[in-house]
Subunit: 154 residues, 4 copies
């Protein structure tokens, strides 16, 4: 059985997870970067992502979704980086067991803009649990939300 | 100018907010109950709400969205209940300024099921800030997630 | 080497941890109950636990400390309950590695009273990570604070 | 009745709150800086602050206390800075009503060290509610914990 080095699989896996996660497509999330040192996702404003129609701002749930996925992406890249060589199927099985334990979102400003960018980095890297911090900005650099997520990684 | 008693408006306003919030429609959220003592929302499983396609479970962002809206619904009903009589437009203006300050979601079990129910009640009722607790269950009563949200209400 | 059944050790260990944790003594925490199904701790009001001297209410840090320990106690009892028989030293080594990953406290009402009781139960029981919910009440049953803690247990 | 400009009172008030808060003295908290742009507090290791006696590390409650106070200090400095001139008594009354709504602590590494420094800055500045982020480091610059606090300020 041929073994693969998980760290070489980050882009393939990011792509797979991206295109394979239906709700990410509803939001229109694009994975721009998915590395152990940080992840970046972006998405465009569109009518169905609006929460408050009077103010034409993003729904809080869109913000929490984008930040959760950004946190998962970086912890997932970091987990891949730490895995030994293994059969590809086993690697996918492990990734399939990763999950969010808890998530906190701080909504700072209304979600106004045309293009939104979610960035993330790891603040606690463990073999079982990782914690990431995330931020959402719009195209003007306005800081819209902060997030912190605790993820089961092994 | 005619005044309305805000507490009589809960169902009209719940309906308005419900049908007027595009992202709630993406999820398919139905407001079953919206009262100061508690709110209940439900939604059906459908393919685009899936996160992990291998396990066919709800995306964490769907869960956080449903819980955030459930918390907003009950704090909004409670806020209406406390408002004095006022012109309808002023009431809508006030409601339009309500927003989520922060949200914590604890993911307890995989989001498997056909019909999901989000319930909420208030744990801190203030004139400026309210805090709500929320739960998500499936049709078997399996407890999928807990949430806590802090909301600006006045 | 003689083995012990961890579940028989709960009271000894609770006592040890209690008397062995200096900062718990500063607060004056008493472990009333420490079982997998729930934990209860209590402590008395005393001048050095005051935060706001004008209002004579508990410092928020006293509340967060009591709730963190209540959450740790129940997750620790549940972890003991799941462990196989093992040498006592190994059991203590495992317990010594348990730690709080993250903690959220919701302060509901001012911490007024003479005797405070912190209770906890587990909402997510895992072999690696457990999540507990905690509450603080005073002797009148006034609900002062809620907490949620995520703990590394294995 | 003579009016004072609240922003000129920051150091007097910081001192008063510091020396007037008994539990801060139990920890041994020193207010190094208390400005709208940021606050810094420090404290020394001492036996009664220990949680886990085997590992000789800070109790999690000491960490949450220090971070909560650091967050309160910066939101309090920022609130003073926004207040109009007013009688000193009224200023103290307002400050006395400020309180923590919720607090999240992420424990990153064991609390080892001799001198600990808690820093804070504001991420959401409002007239009613402010949100601060806090960090705890030891004398080597080791990052021990992150915090996020939501505070009632008006």
């Amino acid at each position: 059985m041929s073994l693969v080095k998980p760290s070489t699989m980050i882009h393939e896996v990011a792509e797979l997870f991206h295109n394979g996660m239906p709700f990410d497509k509803v939001i229109g999330l694009r994975v721009e970067r998915c590395e152990p040192e940080g992840a970046t996702l972006s998405f465009d404003a569109k009518p169905e992502l609006i929460g408050n129609p009077i103010h034409q701002i993003l729904h809080g749930g869109v913000i929490s979704t984008a930040l959760d996925v950004a946190g998962a992406a970086v912890t997932f890249a970091a987990a891949l980086n730490r895995m030994p060589e293994m059969p590809k199927q086993e690697m996918y099985d492990r990734l399939g067991r990763m999950s969010t334990i808890d998530l906190r979102i701080d909504y700072l400003r209304p979600g106004r803009g045309q293009v939104f960018t979610a960035t993330s980095h790891i603040i606690r890297a463990g073999s079982k649990v990782a914690v990431a911090r995330m931020e959402l900005h719009n195209e003007d650099g306005t800081h819209i939300a902060f997030g912190t997520g605790t993820y089961m990684v092994g």
